[in-house]
Symmetry: C2
Subunit: 376 residues, 2 copies
């Protein structure tokens, strides 16, 4: 391809100045129709495409919002499987957030630049993103705090789904603690379970820790003994580890087997389900099992998993709204913090029956799973 034509080429060919060419694209009505047509025709003949870079440089804005998310590359999904095997939580999160952001961005006339932080990449990917957008969202623990510190001085940044790492940054999170508290409460009050166990990941997962706190609260307010620590911590919150955890818990010589296993995420819970089945332990008959997140897998396993659904899509939308407000200067300078409500989903694994067709659950009511939308 030859050198790309510029405003100068178009201007020359259509016999106008470059300013007029520019106007035709930025503000067509400010140019006489006849002139406009001539310019457009010339542009078409030359194959002219305005340079976003030059535009951005001259106008100091890009019309693009960004999202940085973790490098979720993992061996399991690298096999090229193109089915729905794929249940890496980080990945599913990103998908939903991307969706939410994309929609909201579009509404506001922005495009979306997405980039996963390539670990050990040459130039930190975030710098690349930061330089090309008007503002961006970051999934927690994706970008080194120090980088964010610097960048957030220059453009709006909103932190997603984690604790507020930097106190002057906007941030949006899900009500992890609250959700786990509700779920635990349900197990205790509605199902009368009392010997509960909580399975967490490493201490450095803020979400999982928040969930554990919710669990503690529920125990406390129900008058049950409050564990200082999760009954078990696993190195990674995967299905494999969940399966292993279930085994460990079963074999433990404590006061009888637990009546419920509350896992800090769905993947572990799903793994546990498999392990329990292999050992002939019935769920929920012998032990109730719950997860957290509401990933698609949670609905596919048998018994279907009781869990807490996180509003990742909405999180993406809210992130965009926040960024846009910052960019239009409509917000105060105060950093804002938003806690999105989560939704307990009672399915079979906690002892709630299979879904039944009934009227739609009221707003905010932790409902039974609703049936597949028939739409027919």
């Amino acid at each position: 391809m030859s050198t790309a034509p510029t405003v100068y080429d178009v201007a020359e060919r259509s016999g106008v100045s470059i300013a007029t060419v520019s106007r035709v694209y930025r503000n067509p009505d400010s140019v006489r129709a006849q002139t406009r047509e001539r310019v457009l025709a010339a542009a078409r003949e030359l194959g002219y495409v305005p340079s976003g870079n030059a535009r951005g440089l001259a106008s100091r804005s890009t019309g693009v919002l960004g999202l940085c998310f973790p490098d979720y590359a993992d061996p399991d999904t690298d096999t090229g499987a193109d089915d729905e095997t794929d249940d890496n939580a980080a990945m599913l999160y990103s998908d939903q957030i991307i969706r939410g952001m994309e929609r909201a961005a579009r509404r506001h006339g922005y495009a979306l630049l997405i980039a996963a932080s390539l670990k050990g990449g040459p130039e930190s990917l975030v710098a690349k993103v930061a330089g090309r957008v008007d503002g961006f969202a970051v999934l927690a623990r994706t970008v080194p705090t120090e980088d964010l510190e610097v960048i957030s001085r220059r453009l709006p940044v909103v932190m997603l789904a984690g604790p507020r790492e930097i106190d002057h940054l906007d941030h949006i999170e899900a009500a992890n603690s609250d959700g786990q508290r509700q779920l635990t409460h349900h197990l205790i009050e509605d199902h009368g379970l009392r010997r509960l166990t909580f399975i967490a990941g490493e201490r450095d997962s803020p979400d999982a820790e928040a969930r554990f706190r919710g669990y503690q609260e529920a125990c406390r307010s129900a008058g049950l003994p409050v564990a200082e620590e999760p009954d078990l911590r696993v190195p990674m919150m995967t299905q494999a580890e969940g399966a292993r955890a279930a085994g460990v818990l079963l074999d433990r010589d404590s006061a009888g087997p637990p009546q419920a296993m509350l896992f800090a995420n769905d993947q572990m819970a799903a793994g546990a389900l498999h392990a329990l089945e292999r050992r002939g332990v019935r769920v929920p008959g012998d032990v109730a099992v719950t997860g957290f997140d509401g990933i698609p897998l949670s609905r596919l396993v048998r018994p279907a998993l009781t869990t807490v659904r996180q509003p990742m899509r909405r999180m993406g939308e809210e992130a965009v709204e926040r960024l846009v407000r910052r960019l239009t200067g409509a917000d105060s300078d105060e950093p804002m913090s938003l806690m999105l409500p989560v939704t307990p989903v009672h399915r079979e694994s906690c002892g709630c029956g299979p879904a039944e067709v009934s009227g739609p659950a009221g707003p905010d009511s932790p409902g039974r799973e609703s049936p597949e939308t028939p739409a027919g």
Copy 2:
């Protein structure tokens, strides 16, 4: 936020020239370590972030690849539901393609700019994208052909998942016809069905038309009567229309009810399943039902839907590979066309039994559905 610092500010503060500042970022090794440190320190203090626009402008490349996909905004999903209710096919496609592209782009050091073509937007969104990327992919029928015509003269464009609209463009598609042929063959040969019906959408869906051709071929080579036209065309390929279609087919006073309903996509098939159940028609006992696409919903419905899985993720990856090759000049100038194989998935709705645990299916063999990966 005050005016962003530039190379000049950093240069001044660290007592070097702007060229050196630039070098520190582009090619650190070409600067003495001591100087480099000084520059970096100054940058940090000032909160300097290199401008992607200026960079792109000066270096004539962006390090960004793009994707344009259709505006799939639809009333159903605008209700803000954040669960998995969401089965808009276009949307699911985009997600998978985005995933594939993002991963591949990352491997090659590119970021990904995504934008849905906002119908009736002011400036065609594609122009916006085109000006900000080094090359991009377009989902078929997203961008006016004339625009593509112009743009593709200036940067690499690859067309996805449709027929080749512009003959000098690279394009990647799935083997729609072949997949439907295989599926139809399966119904005829393995299940002995002979009175088949095919339900398509409007004639302007190239994918659906290709599928119909595959259906015709299978009928022909089996010695069955070959329909000139689909037995039914519906205005939109939705669940609601699928349900309606099933009703129409049942009520038709033809030579007895059909033994199989082959729908041009999964959504229609899913809708049909509901309609048939309501009318007391057993699937697959009374009639076999198949879809196309392999969306997650196809696995969730009961009976699970026999379908053909499209490799959307891989399509995204291939798109990036193609673009990168074009950009590095490693390819010939010939436009390339790639047809990705699809995978028939035999589930219950065609009469194949429920999934059984068996060894992994051989490569390319249309296997039974594999069980949920236990990973435990």
